[in-house]
């Protein structure tokens, strides 16, 4: 697999960094690839902009900063506005479709939306929005094995919350997979 640069953006409280950790963990620990994570967040706990940069490669990674993401995952409108100019002409945009309204994108950019917050609320906890998004990422991109991501989710979430987080992952994954198959 060629090097894949991923940028995940959103607001504090959406679990942006944890999404990056899970994707990186799935790639490096459970799928045998190399991965790096860079995280950035504002000083406030909630509502401030934050982002994670994840790099995945079959080979060792010498430079961990994402310059031109192949995949941009955005969970807020502000993150979309801030990071979409970085996206390559043939990049992929995954977005929270009830919070982000993508427009004026280069023709080559593939876009996939999911109502992740609503799905998380339907499942019983808005908190699992980021896990829905991780599942969606896995379902759309196919760059990681679903089993690896599932294991990374289970290894990353607190004890007692595994079942709901697993449901969140599956809902996101199925939604992503169905969009790709439909295209």
């Amino acid at each position: 697999m060629a090097k894949t640069e991923i940028r995940i953006g959103g607001l504090g409280g959406q679990g942006v960094i944890l999404s990056g950790i899970i994707i990186g963990k799935a790639a490096s620990i459970y799928d045998g690839k190399h991965s790096t994570l860079i995280q950035a967040f504002g000083p406030e706990a909630r509502g401030s902009a934050c982002s994670a940069q994840v790099m995945i490669d079959d080979n060792a990674i010498g430079y961990p900063y994402v310059k031109t993401p192949d995949i941009l995952v955005v969970m807020s409108s502000a993150a979309y506005t801030q990071f979409v100019p970085e996206l390559g002409d043939s990049g992929m945009l995954l977005y929270e479709e009830e919070l982000v309204d993508p427009k004026d994108l280069p023709a080559g950019v593939k876009t996939y939306g999911i109502p992740a917050t609503r799905i998380a609320e339907e499942l019983g906890r808005r908190l699992v929005l980021n896990i829905v998004m991780v599942g969606f990422f896995a379902g759309v991109t196919g760059i990681l094995s679903p089993k690896a991501v599932e294991k990374a989710v289970l290894a990353s979430v607190p004890r007692g919350t595994e079942d709901l987080n697993l449901k969140a992952f599956k809902r996101g994954f199925e939604h992503g997979e169905s969009l790709v198959k439909g295209n």
Binding site: L11, G15, F41, L123, R125, L127, N130, P158, G160, D163
Partner: protein
């Protein structure tokens, strides 16, 4: 509703094994048998007259896991325990679930009640509930202990609330289990905030 992980096989003391599984539409006769042979003393505290076939028929014909999650314990083809998680999907107590349980005498004090309650607590957490309630009569010491093992604590006592088989009024103990703390760690993890940031 997706009910992964069932049936569960529970070994009991004495090399016996019990199957824990959700109620099915075909359980009508088995459930009626189970409730019919329960001692009257055990049936007295149930909310409905479960010896009436139409009541049991109502249970099995109206299975709706979004409102009630019913688990049965089965041993050698016979039902030996019934535990339910009651949900309120709308309104101001939709974060609260109530557990009700009855276990055949022969299978009491063998860990079956605790195991069934544990299944329901886990299911409640997976539904995102914050709080669970259970009611026991003050002399149901073993049942109270079983719930306490799972984190339930006494929250209220309704004095002389129930009348037992001998006509004696007894106190009803309301136990609660605040499971919201399970999510506190997750909340901290998704805060996207470092306590050491900036200093």
């Amino acid at each position: 509703m997706d009910l992964e992980g069932y049936p569960k096989y529970l070994p009991l003391k004495g090399e016996e094994q019990v199957i824990i599984r959700p109620l099915k539409a075909t359980d009508e006769a088995g459930l009626l048998d189970f409730f019919s042979v329960l001692p009257e003393q055990d049936r007295l505290f149930l909310r409905e007259d479960v010896t009436r076939p139409e009541v049991i028929q109502g249970f099995v014909q109206n299975i709706d896991f979004d409102s009630v999650m019913p688990l049965l314990a089965e041993h050698e083809g016979k039902i030996v325990g019934d535990a339910t998680l009651h949900l309120t999907r709308h309104g101001w107590t939709r974060h609260v679930g109530q557990i009700r349980m009855v276990v055949a005498r022969k299978f009491q004090h063998r860990g079956l009640g605790t195991a069934m309650a544990r299944c329901l607590v886990r299911h409640a957490v997976s539904l995102g509930l914050d709080k669970l309630l259970a009611e026991v009569v003050d002399n149901q010491i073993a049942a109270k202990r079983a719930f306490e093992k799972l984190g339930f604590k006494q929250e209220a006592v309704l004095r002389n609330q129930v009348r037992d088989i001998h006509g004696v009024k007894r106190n009803l103990v309301i136990l609660s289990n605040d499971v919201s703390h399970i999510w506190e760690t997750m909340e901290a993890m998704v805060a996207d905030f470092s306590p050491t940031y900036g200093g």
